[in-house]
Structures are given as structure tokens and as C-alpha cells.
Amino acid sequence: MCNILAIETSCDETSVAIVQNGKHVLSNLVSSQIETHKAFGGVVPEVASRKHVETITLMIEQAVEQSGLTLDDVSAVAVTEGPGLVGALLVGIMAAKSVAFALDKPLIGTHHIAGHIYANNLTADIVYPALALVVSGGHTELVLLEREGQFRLIGSTRDDAVGEAYDKVARALGFPYPGGPYVDRLAMEAESAVELPRAWLEPDSYDFSLSGLKSAVLNVVNQKKMRGEEPMTAEIARGFQESVVEVLVEKAIRAVKAYDVRQLLLCGGVAVNKGLRRTLTERCEREGIELLIPPFEYCTDNAAMIGAAAYLKWKTGEFSDLRIKGDPSLSLEKWSTASIG
């Protein structure tokens, strides 16, 4: 039996979970700072770091209490080592080191994106080889998992991340931060779409580019303003969403076929986007591809997913020393586990 106490503070959620054998979530506490950062129109790193210090031990205490376990039952301590905001990561890392040191238990520095991918293992079983489509505020990636714990990056965004583009477009359309969900809702309600470009890049590329689309949206918005026309907010939102979703879905499906994987895993904060979920689900059904999507609470940043990913390293016995520090550019591929057997 392995009970991992997991801590995640890479951005603006302070989260602590206890996960058994990388699978069973005994507790998963998330303290969101979203209300605080709304006033600034985005996440302010210094404010995020201050908030993490204020809540970290309380979150650990509540996670332990709700799990029904005691600290003596904890087998290892996991923490997001990167990527993320370096000052925010640091609070979780110091807390995790301190718990690990005080309990004399192993420490497992964990990759944030490995966490998002392995969130899928909390409610289903990942079958390999698998392909993950990671979509969040900081990431837009296609990751190939040839076996458990092995990550190969086959495509990523060359400029903005999907979530970032959503928030910027939302701002242009007059919505407060974080605006992604407004765009999603509006797009679903719209009766028609303003036609916007798709960034396919080179024919064989699995990379993404969203800054051109974002600029196109801004152009349309400004033109309408200058001509004194109807803002057509809903139609623009739908046009933007259709463009983003079409490219994400097409590239993911092409990669699924090219690498002959057995499952497609959707994950990351933008995986809560209804337009993306619906289109990808329909397409996978049509193509006969098995699609996993974590429940909402495991899509946005949470510590349970860190506990799920850390379990990979528990099994291979790859522990971190007490000298780890926050690494904003931690490599996912290098975080792959040693192969067993």
C-alpha cells in the first residue's frame, strides 16, 4: 500500500491530496486564489506566492484529516517541481521537503504535465501506447506515451497556449479574467460563426500556433468598433472556438493514427471546455478511438493528479533529494521513469 501526500502550488491554486497507489483519491483539497487575481486581470506571481504561504499548512492538515489516515500512514511526499511560476512552486517545494524530512519519508519531485496526463488514470485505466492532448493556460502539447511513465513530446505551441489565447480573446470581447469559460458559453449559444483562419503550419507538423488567430480576432473586433457595427461578440467567440477546436482535434486524430496508439487522453484546464469535449468525443466515436477525459475537478490544477504521476516514480524507486528547487522549464521527456524489466 502506497499513500502519497501530494502538493501542487505551480500557479494560483494551493492544493494538497492523498492518493493511494496512484489511483484512489482519499482527499483532494484545492484552495483557489481566482477571486484575488480577478482584481488584477490575471495571475500576479508575487500575490500567488504570498497566498500559498498563507494556506499551505492548513491545506495539508485538511487533506490528512479528510483522508482518514494519519501522518504515520504516509509513504512518500510528492510535489510539483515544474513547470510553473518559480516563486509559487517554491512554497510547495519547501513545504513538501519539510514534511518529507520531518517524517523521514521519500520525496518525489513531479512534473506538472505528467500530473495532468496521469489525472486520466484516477478514474480510468490508461492503456499503452497512448497519446495525450494537453491543453491548459500554459501548455498546448501532444505527448506520446509508448509505455507507462515514458513521455515523448511530438508537438507543442510555438507561441500562445490555448488557455492563454482564450483569456486574451475574452478580454478583447469585454469579459473579465479568466474569460475562457465566457467564450466557451457564448460560442455554444451563437447561431452563426465569423470565419477565422486556421493555423495548420507545415503539413506534417504536430505543432500549434495561436497568436495569428488571436490577432485576427482583435482585427475583427476593432473593425466592427471603427465602423460602428454590431459587435457580434457571440459570432466571433464561435468563430474563434471553431478554429481552435478544429486544429486541435485534427492534429490529435492524425497523431493517433500515425503512432497507432490505443487511447487518446485529453487533459489540462482547457479540457473543461465544452466545445472541445463535444467535438473531440464525437470525432473519436466516429473514428472508433477510445478517448479518456478526466472529470472536471481533475482537469484544472489539483494535487491528486500529482499524486497519480508521482506513483510512477514510487514504483521505480526514483526519489528526489532535499536539494530540489522550482524549475520553470522542467523537461517532461527527461522526467520519464526508468523502464522496469
Binding site: F40, V47, G87, M94, D104, L322, I324, K325
Partner: protein, 296 residues
Amino acid sequence: MSEMNEQPRKRFLVLDTSTAAQVVAVMEGQKVLAAESSNADRNHSVGLLDSIARMLEAASVSRRELDGIAVGVGPGSYTGIRIAVTTAKTLAWTLQLPVAGFSSLAALALSGYLQATGNGEKKDANTLINTSASGADELSNQATADANQQQTEQSVSAATTQSWIVPLMDARRGQVYTGLFTTEGEGVPHCVEADRIVLMDDWVDQLIERYRVLAEQERPANVYIVGDTALHEQRVAKLVELAGDRVQLLACSLEAEDAGSVGAAALLSGQSEPAHTLLPNYTQLSEAEANLLRHS
């Protein structure tokens, strides 16, 4: 002596990472069992736990044998103070120990005072505090002797043995983290003006005003300005004009033994708080919060 031995000695872990120095001390009461101050080039997150493990081992104290944790809560580097505070509060919560925050400036004030009075070399806190008393006497005697020689109005027989200590941590753009501490030579310096961030020019004006309004016999025998003095030497000139050679500048860093003394004193006096509410003392809002407040 035998009475002392019957008292269970309390063992404390003391941390401070508010400055360039990464400071860890293991104390038994006011006695330093092990202390380490390393210049970690503002990379305290990497080495702090290693240093804690090393100091506990050197002191032959296991983590389960600790009776309390004390931590410098700042002011200082924002990231720096978060490192020690997060570590202290999480260790305290996990090990179920009392935790106390202390002013990092108080520790710097003590380091500066002991070095200025020639007692900085003594690494045993017991010795250090006992001898510092006589050190201060010597100094005030010296001040009196000087006064008799010079017969200047400003230094005629300082009746007080009190010293002022003004610790400085540079906070960029002409600002300092500072406060005003007094000491009669013994124990932890007493805070009379709370930790703050202030323009050094304004701070010097405030100190001058405070000094000026005192009757001669109430004026401090010495004014020690300690810490990051190099960048602010020019700004102190006005104070030197007024108080003459009572003013001494000493560039120094925060020493582990002195943080140990200040931290142990806090815990020995019963000061502690729940781990959950222990927080850094930034002394100011973050820039984003300040801007928001200004524009609303």
C-alpha cells in the same frame, strides 16, 4: 549549578533566510549547540533542509527531540523569507511543535552590536551575552572619557548606558528595511521603532529628530548603524554631524548564533503561534496590490 541541571533543557531549531546568509542554528536554551551561516547566493531553497539536517546531526539532536522552532519572518527578500517561514511552519505542523516568528532585523541588530562592541568572535551565546554587558560598559566609559576630553556640548557625560542599534538591509532605490532597537548591553535588543521599509534619507531625518529632542542625559551613549551600511554611508553624515563619534557604522551580516539567541529568547519567553497563522513580515504590500489600491 545542580539546580540548573535538573531543569529539562529545551532544544530549538532556529532559521533565517531573509538576507544573503542562509542561517540555521540548533540551541539548547540560550546555548548554541550548532550553528551555520552560509552565503548561498540567494539560493536558499536548495540547501536549507540539508543545512538543518547537518546542524541537528552536529548537535546530536534528532528532529523528534526538538521542543520548538523559531524563524526570522523578515523583512528582507520576499522569496527568501517565504523559504524559511514555509519550512518552519511546515516542520512545526508536522512535528507538532510550537513555532515563533522573530524579526530578522532584531537578529541583524544583535549581530551588528556584538561585532561593534568586539564580542562578535564569541560563538557561545551564554558567554556572548554575559560579556556583551561589560563590552557596553567599556564603550560607555570610553564615550565618557572622550566627552571629558572634548568638552563639546553634545557629548558631555552621557548619563545613559543605553545604545541605539539601527540595523539596515538595503531595499533598493535608496530604501532600507530597518527599525530602531535599544540595548543596555544584555540580551536581545529591544525594539522601539517597528520594522519598516523607508527611504534612508527620511529615516535619518527621523532618527535625528528623535535624538535632538532628548535631553542630553537621555541620549544614547552609542548609535550603532549596522548591516548593509556601504550603500548608505553618505546619508548618515547628517546624523554624525549632530551626534559625533557616538555614531558608528559597521558593515556586517546576520550571524547564525545571533539569530539563534533571538529565536531562543522568543521561544523561552513562551512566544509562539499556530503554524497556520505564521506569516512573513513583508512590511509592505506587493507592487500589484499597492497599484490597485492607488487606482481604486
